[in-house]
């Protein structure tokens, strides 16, 4: 039995009366103005700064600031000096960070959501609260906690030592984990082909270094803190997934894994997109952990584009370069979001695939 909701037919003229139009604008005015003053105007000014030679004194719109075209963008992408190298290093770091954090946090949060959504689990509320707790704690507090846990003589290394493992010097170890693995199999210096050439001022061998041990600690932290939030999104989505389809699958003899993979997961697609997108954006914008924790060290291996942008502007007084980095970051995030959207788009079921679901000539 289904219920149909019939939209009430609109009486009166179809065009909105002028008075209502004005009232509409008046009611939306506050948010438009707030967004304008605190978002659009600053963004436009930052865009201007990124193509100007503003040095940080007085207004960027004053007469003695001039347009320099793409000079600032060129300095960080093709300049050949420290700015380019720093930008290359920060991109390397954040790419590895994103590559590891996004899949890990998505898988973990989905796993936790499925666990705490199971009807037979006792004390679900307790688990949900526990998993969600890191998300409501301030990042700064967690960074400080992490610095303690991962210090050389900290809890993590103490626990590792019970198993005979000599833990690393987490936050002061600049070695990339891929390099460590390569070193273990005797590839200490890297093949000549990768060392001799590079991109953005760092060699391909350095690009392949992997996250440093210090950055790995931040990766663990990000997974730990964000999984709770995303778990909540998945829990909400799982509640919207009807039990009927699952029961139908059970009748057809699908195993638990098949039901999850072929029935539940496809219905979570919109949430999956949200989680992946939020995760991706959060990763690329990583800043406060670095600002409060390591300031880019050890060996610049936790330098991120967002922190580099801040550092270039506020510490080195290269405001143009700082804004340029911010806008390049913006373009990168937009690009990856579009790619993700395209990958996760709703596809029509292909004919070959549709045929598999047809049961002995019956049309479904």
């Amino acid at each position: 039995m289904t219920t149909r909701v019939i939209a009430p037919r609109r009486s009166g003229p179809s065009r909105i009366r002028t008075g209502e139009g004005v009232a509409g604008w008046v009611f939306t005015a506050p948010i438009i103005i707030i967004l304008g003053v605190f978002l659009f105007i600053p963004v436009l000014m930052a865009l201007w700064v990124s193509v100007s030679d503003w040095t940080g004194r007085g207004s960027p719109l004053s007469g003695n600031v001039s347009f320099v075209g793409l000079d600032n963008y060129a300095a960080v992408t093709t300049g050949g000096g420290l700015p380019e190298r720093n930008f290359g290093i920060s991109l390397r770091n954040i790419a590895w960070y994103t590559l590891l954090v996004v899949p890990l946090q998505t898988i973990l949060s989905l796993f936790l959501a499925v666990l705490v959504s199971r009807a037979i689990l006792r004390g679900r509320g307790v688990f949900r609260t526990a998993f969600y707790f890191p998300s409501v704690t301030s990042t700064v507090a967690i960074v400080v906690l992490w610095l303690f846990l991962f210090s050389t003589n900290g809890v993590i290394n103490e626990v590792l030592s019970w198993f005979g493992i000599n833990g690393p010097n987490w936050f002061s170890d600049p070695r990339g984990i891929v390099h460590i693995a390569a070193g273990a199999v005797g590839l200490g210096a890297g093949p000549e082909a990768l060392v001799s050439s590079g991109f953005l001022g760092i060699t391909w061998w350095e690009w392949l270094a992997g996250p440093s041990v210090a950055l790995s600690a931040f990766i663990l932290m990000a997974v730990f803190t964000t999984s709770g939030t995303f778990m909540l999104l998945f829990v909400a989505a799982l509640q919207g997934v009807g039990v009927e389809l699952g029961e139908a699958g059970m009748m057809d003899g699908a195993t638990g894994w098949q039901r999850f993979w072929h029935i539940t997961l496809p219905q979570l697609r919109p949430t999956l997109f949200t989680v992946l997108t939020l995760g991706l954006i959060g990763c690329w914008q990583m800043f406060e952990q670095i600002y409060t924790g390591t300031q880019g060290g050890p060996g610049k291996t936790t330098l991120t584009p967002a922190y580099l942008s801040y550092q270039s502007a506020f510490i080195s007084q290269d405001w143009g370069q700082g804004s340029a980095i911010a806008f390049i970051l913006f373009v990168i995030i937009i690009f990856f979001t579009i790619v993700q959207r395209w990958l996760l788009r709703e596809r029509p079921v292909s004919k070959r695939r549709a045929r598999r679901y047809q049961v002995r000539g019956q049309r479904s």
Binding site: V22, I33, V37, T55, G58, N86, F171, I315, S316
Partner: protein, 418 residues
């Protein structure tokens, strides 16, 4: 009724929106500025405006001491002055300069001067100081950019060798054994190294390792020329590397300490290279660890250390620079600097306070004698990034190639020394 309510609501929304527009645009953020401050060489501005002073404080003792001194000056001169403590000084300063409303006086690090001087945010008032001849010449040089002495050094620190006397005596050493050469340093470090403790520790940065470069006769910039990859510097890094490999030297971070003082206090190292600030940390956190302060040993080219200092920067946009100058002269006077030294530990930046300071701090004399042969980190615009990159490479000095590290530093440094 409903239309009345709607009209009221619309009016209310308009008022709110209007208020937002006003408050949004009324902030001083992007007003055109520059009329009050262009005092490059045409004298200092003067007015009845109150002074604002922004400091980056090391703690309550420093804040209280500065507040007290400024209040005393205010009472004497009749000019109001308020002290604020920045939690992120470079950021707050930059915001002030961009908004055209910077503090009148502020702590300023030497490496930040070139950047702010380049965009005209600072006024070079050094030559106007009455007590200009009293400042140590190396400090004046530290704050001189393109032949302009920008600001008065407020105090300074140098690095020395801090020795744990318990461990020293346990190893059978006496005061006569305090190392004066690299060979002796190697010998005592080796003797003091035990399981779980290194002989000598220091932070993984140029700001500590640079002392060896100075002792070898090297440095970063001499007469405006980058000399980062000189053979002296290579020799220094090779010496450090050799002893990191044999386990008698270590970076504080490699033995689980945040900085040298922590490594020393936790007795993870028998000796560290640190500055005056270690005194406060030791009495606060590790009061039971006895130590002495000795001069750093001489290298192949003699003695060498590094000095660190901050100055009282003055804003070009300040409307009352004349009063600010008087306040600086007051704050850098002999009496006042001795009071600061007693309150939070830095060394006076003026020669006339040296004797009184040495009398008051007989055990810390090594820090002050360091002023005679101290080098300072490069202060050219962009040098902060060069040092940051150098520090990043120094972290892996133990396994790195000193020549290669210094070559890359040289290339970066040449780009900023121009």
């Amino acid at each position: 009724m409903t239309s009345n309510t709607r009209a009221l609501a619309s009016a209310g929304a308009l008022v709110v929106a209007g208020a937002l527009v006003l408050s949004g645009c009324g902030g001083s953020g992007f007003d055109d500025t520059g009329d009050s401050g262009d005092a490059g060489d045409g004298g200092l501005t003067s007015s009845d405006d109150a002074l604002s002073i922004l400091i980056g404080s090391s703690g309550e003792a420093e804040t209280a001491a500065v507040e007290e001194a400024v209040a005393a000056w205010s009472a004497e001169s009749g000019v109001d002055a308020t002290v604020s403590v920045a939690n992120d000084l470079p950021q707050q300063l930059s915001q002030g300069f961009a908004a055209g409303s910077p503090p009148d006086l502020f702590y300023l690090a030497p490496e930040a001067i070139a950047g702010y001087a380049g965009n005209g945010s600072l006024v070079a008032y050094g030559s106007e100081l009455e007590n200009i001849d009293d400042f140590y010449p190396s400090l004046v040089e530290n704050f001189t950019v393109e032949d302009e002495f920008y600001c008065a050094p407020k105090d300074f620190s140098t690095l020395a060798l801090i020795i744990n006397t318990d461990l020293w005596e346990a190893a059978g050493f006496t005061e006569a054994d305090i190392p004066t050469t690299w060979e002796e340093l190697s010998a005592v470090s080796s003797a003091l190294t035990t399981d779980g403790r290194v002989g000598l520790a220091f932070g993984p940065e140029y700001q500590r390792v640079g002392t060896f470069m100075a002792q070898a006769g090297g440095g970063m910039v001499v007469d405006g020329e980058a000399i980062a990859n000189s053979s002296e510097n290579v020799e220094a890094l090779e010496y450090v590397q050799e002893h990191m490999v044999d386990g008698t030297f270590a970076y504080s971070s490699d033995i689980g300490a945040g900085w040298g003082g922590e490594a020393f206090g936790k007795q993870l190292a028998a000796m560290v290279i640190e500055g005056n600030w270690i005194g406060g940390a030791m009495s606060a956190d590790f009061p039971d660890v006895p130590y002495i302060v000795a001069e750093l040993p001489a290298g192949p080219a003699g003695q060498g250390t590094l000095q660190f200092t901050n100055c009282w920067g003055m804003a070009a946009d300040s409307p009352n620079q004349q009063a600010a100058l008087e306040l600086v002269e007051y704050l850098t006077s002999t009496e006042q600097q001795l009071a600061f030294s007693e309150a939070f530990g830095p060394m006076p930046s003026i020669a006339s306070a040296a004797d009184a300071w040495t009398d008051a701090n007989p055990d810390l004399g090594a820090f002050l004698t360091g002023a005679d042969y101290a080098q300072f980190p490069p202060n050219q615009e962009g040098s902060v990034d060069v040092i940051a990159d150098f520090n990043a490479q120094l972290e892996s000095l133990k396994t790195g190639d000193p020549q290669q590290i210094l070559d890359s530093v040289q290339a970066n440094l040449e780009a900023v020394t121009g």
